[in-house]
Amino acid sequence: MIEGIGLDKALMAAQSMGQSVIEASAIIAVIVFLVWTVKLAME
């Protein structure tokens, strides 16, 4: 039933997108942390 309407593919795509967003957020957070650390050192 789910396969029939392509919901499984949509779920998989959403899951993959969710993971990408989490990983990208983590990378951006670390970059922000590094910039913040440099700023702290230079204060």
């Binding site: 983590a26 650390t37 702290l40 050192a41």
Partner: protein, 517 residues
Amino acid sequence: MEGQKLKKQALTKNDGKFSNLFWYAVAFSAIFSVWAVMNPTSLTTTLWGLIYKFHDNFNWLVISMPLIICILSFALAFSKYGQIKLGKKDEKPEFSTASWLTMLFTAGLGVGLVNFGVAEPLVHYLSSPLGLPGGFDKVTAAKNAMALTMFNWGIPAWAIYTISGLVIGYFTYHRGAKFLPGTPIEEGFKDKKWGKGLGSLTNILAAGASALTLAASIGLGVFQVKNALKAVFNWELAGVQSSLIILLFIFLSYTIPAISPINKGMKIIGDINIYLVIGVLIFTFVIGPTRFFMGSILTTFGETIKTIVPLGFNVYLFQDRGWFNDWPLTTLVWWVSWTPFLGIFIARISKGRTIKQIVLASIIIPTLFIIIWFSVFGGFGLLNDIAGDGSIAKYIAENPNDVYLSFIMVLQQLPAFNIIGLIFIALVVIFLATTATSAAISLSMMTSNGVENAPPYRTFIWCIIMVTIASANVVTGTLNGVKAVAVFLGVPYMFILFLQIAGMIRQMRKDYKEGAL
């Protein structure tokens, strides 16, 4: 005078009781140790999964981190801050330069020099994208393997250790703060609300990480000694009893120097260690193919200089992730996981030395020695594959998770193996003892409210805790769990190290402006 008296009284008072940090650190180590014993598979799978996830997303940070730290260290050394002395302006170094370098070197390198002296170049030769799988001919693959080994063991590793010592040393000896890993954060960011809390958290993480890292090393040491006894004397030591007897020997070998005064215990064991290391090196150099070794040393030296920058900015895009995760990235994080106690130890032995002296000596001299060591032993292993029977490379290819025997295989090819094999066993035990001694001293200082000379009985308690964790894992055969924890803790500590460095630079700039330098 009054201030000195008060400080002395405070320290004496604190010496008499356990700081809260002691109990937190014990609880922290206990949770992971129990988890490691009860459910090693779940712990190992969970933590390695997280470590690999971290490597996949942050390989760009891990691989470039040591070079950035190295550039920063040299910039500090040659800046106006380079002349800052860890201690009073007229303070003389507590240890002679030779003893200082010996202690620094033996505590920092540890038994890995023996475990991976032959194996590491061969692993890169056999499985890295710059080795045979990358389509390189044997000679180029061998050269690349040495360059990769030097990247993991040379300047990058020592830059990480050096900065971890400097951040503690600056605050303790220059500003009179406590010998605690959290001090650079607590003192450097005194005006920030989060400074104190994060400093305390750092102390707990550092003490727990140190105890677990060392327990893993001691536990592994038991199996290494067993392997060595089998190879040298053909003693088949199966069963828990023999493991516990070896563990007892290791325990005594690090506890006796740890509870002795540092200028006796640690100095003597460090000296014995360096004599044995140099003895084995000279023996192999003279008895083995000396002409080849000279060429190998020069080539490795050249490759190290030529490749250090490109390798620090290479994340092997579109290439094998398994090797990259398991070797360069894990090794670099592993060095970071050693910094909580090595930083304290390096700071403790570097009193009376300037930042410039510490940076130059502790990065350049150990790296030069490592070039010679790997050129001889690793070079021998590579030579065996290119011009010999290839038995060592074959063994490593067939036993990728148990490469430690490769060092003995090299020694077995030399004459008088019975004697050199015995020295090899002594070397393994002494290396473990030296590292465990420095860790017990550092742990004791950390959990004695950061005093310079912690009471021996507290050091003794840490010696007992480390051997207890190790024995639980040896008996249950669950060492991989503790090993995974030790590597895993290096990840958060890397970010702490960045903050510690920022705290130190911030404080230096402030002190300079206020004319306190």
